[in-house]
């Protein structure tokens, strides 16, 4: 009986591992692709990373116009701003900016409020005046010449105001 039970146990272990992989595959894909507004349900993820080559691409840029009473001319971008203006992980902060830009353009006030609080309390230093700008471009052309296909301001904000 002992050896047979062992063999049954191994078969069960193999089945469990296989089921785990199948669950991860479907739950991962579903969490990223099928639930609107959800990036992923940690630790499930669809692993869709750089899946398409952008023939034309777009982004939201955060330009800082000033801090407190001090004005910045020309304005400085979030990713290039000195540590006196921007704190924390800029890679993560840049993603928050993209979410915020989309929320502003969709007019989703609740989400804008949440994202502004996250951005202003974790990434911007002090009372910062900033502008969100939308850009659409051909990537290689923009890298070579800096030209955009489309560019417009999405909105201007000041840390802590209007929240």
């Amino acid at each position: 009986m002992g050896p047979q039970r062992d063999a049954h146990g191994l078969g069960r272990l193999r089945r469990r591992l296989a089921i785990l992989l199948v669950i991860y595959f479907f739950a991962g894909a579903a969490s990223q692709k099928l639930i609107p507004g959800v990036d992923e349900i940690i630790p499930f993820y669809g692993w869709s990373l750089f899946s398409k080559v952008p023939n034309d691409d777009s982004r939201y840029v955060l330009l800082i116009h000033g801090q407190g009473r001090r004005s910045l001319d020309p304005p400085v971008s979030f990713l290039r701003a000195p540590a006196t203006l921007v704190a924390g992980n800029r890679y993560t902060g840049r993603k928050v900016i993209q979410h915020l830009g989309r929320a502003v353009e969709r007019g989703n006030a609740a989400r804008v409020g949440t994202l502004r609080r996250l951005l202003e309390s974790n990434y911007l230093q002090g009372r910062v005046r900033y502008e969100l700008v939308f850009e659409r471009y051909d990537p290689i052309e923009k890298w070579r010449s800096g030209t955009d296909l489309e560019r417009h301001s999405v909105g201007e904000f000041t840390s802590g105001e209007g929240l």
Partner: protein, 333 residues
């Protein structure tokens, strides 16, 4: 006899598609190698938890969070105290993994500690994916059998179960890459249907992706500007990446390809860091530990066999390799 039959069927499932040893799961040497690699996994987790101490002050200074579900309980407690609890759990999990990984409950605590700290990291408005694999591997290793840690264990069932779980961890790693490859292959089809001219199959595909990322980051990567200036250089490497990722899971049951795929995917991460500016250093480590140093890999790399087991082109390459060897045999005195 019946036990022998079941174990043989189990081994047959794992056996390489073309030839290979039927005794991979029974080998004491491979069992010992798997034990060492699992021990190394937990040692690295402690190293990472210790390194995390440097960022405790900034972690504890956080005030505004958008907690992910594993740390949703932070809403119910003082934020600073809750974050402190997660950080202490992470450190304790690192120590437990090294000291008590023989016990399943300790491996569960390690998994939970990693999940909590990962969720904390992603509660600041955005997610990245460089540290997911460690959590997934820690979950699979919960299934290790009692006695997996005993050096030179004479228990055949423990050896088979340990190596099965190790191959499950390999499969989990490779599955994530196959999923990434699946979306890229699907993306190519979707872009064709949409009428997009540039895809990963286009000579400028990878260069265009790199240019887009550098603009997004507002900074040049190390090799990115050169690649954008010489876009054709990225053509075949871009296609090779889609191939490596898409067929990653295929490799699980083909040990002769473990090392090549592990190192190939690690190389992919290094080059994507140099060109796209996207680093997955922790994934590089897991790829090298679990696949580059796979306990199932042949002692000596046999390129003919490996070529014959490659997905899609393997049959053709296998015939060619046999053909290439035949004249040498015929010509021998």
């Amino acid at each position: 006899m019946r036990r022998g039959g079941r174990i043989e069927r189990l081994i047959a499932f794992f056996r390489p598609a073309r030839g290979g040893s039927a005794s991979l799961l029974l080998s004491p040497e491979r069992f010992a190698a798997a034990q060492s690699l699992i021990g190394a996994f937990y040692a690295v987790l402690l190293f990472l938890a210790a390194g995390r101490l440097f960022s405790w002050p900034s972690d504890l200074a956080a005030t505004d969070l958008a907690p992910r579900w594993p740390v949703a309980w932070l809403h119910l407690v003082d934020t600073r105290a809750g974050i402190a609890a997660i950080l202490w759990l992470h450190l304790a999990g690192g120590v437990l993994g090294v000291a008590l990984a023989r016990y399943r409950w300790a491996r569960v605590v390690v998994f939970v500690s990693l999940l909590e700290v990962l969720a904390l990291d992603f509660s600041f408005g955005a997610v990245n994916h460089g540290n997911h694999l460690g959590v997934l591997i820690a979950f699979v290793l919960i299934f290790l059998p009692a006695g997996w840690h005993v050096p030179g264990s004479a228990d055949r069932t423990v050896r088979v179960a340990t190596l099965l779980v190790f191959s499950g961890a390999q499969a989990m790693i490779l599955l994530t890459y196959s999923m990434a490859g699946m979306w890229k292959a699907g993306g190519i089809l979707q872009q064709w249907l949409q009428g997009d001219f540039v895809t990963y199959l286009h000579p400028h595909g990878l260069a265009q992706q790199v240019a887009a990322k550098m603009i997004e980051d507002d900074a040049p990567s190390i090799l990115g500007p050169w690649l954008v200036a010489h876009p054709w250089a990225g053509w075949l490497p871009g296609i090779a990446v889609v191939y490596l990722e898409l067929f990653a899971l295929w490799v699980v049951t083909r040990p002769s390809l473990h090392r090549a795929w592990g190192l190939g995917l690690a190389l992919f991460h290094l080059t994507s860091h140099l060109t796209l500016g996207v680093g997955f250093p922790q994934s590089v480590l897991w790829l090298v530990l679990f696949l580059g140093l796979s306990p199932f890999r042949p002692p000596v790399f046999e390129w003919r066999r490996a070529a014959g087991e490659l997905p899609v082109v393997g049959t053709w390459l296998g015939r060619w390799a046999s053909f290439a060897r035949a004249p040498a045999r015929g010509g021998a005195p």
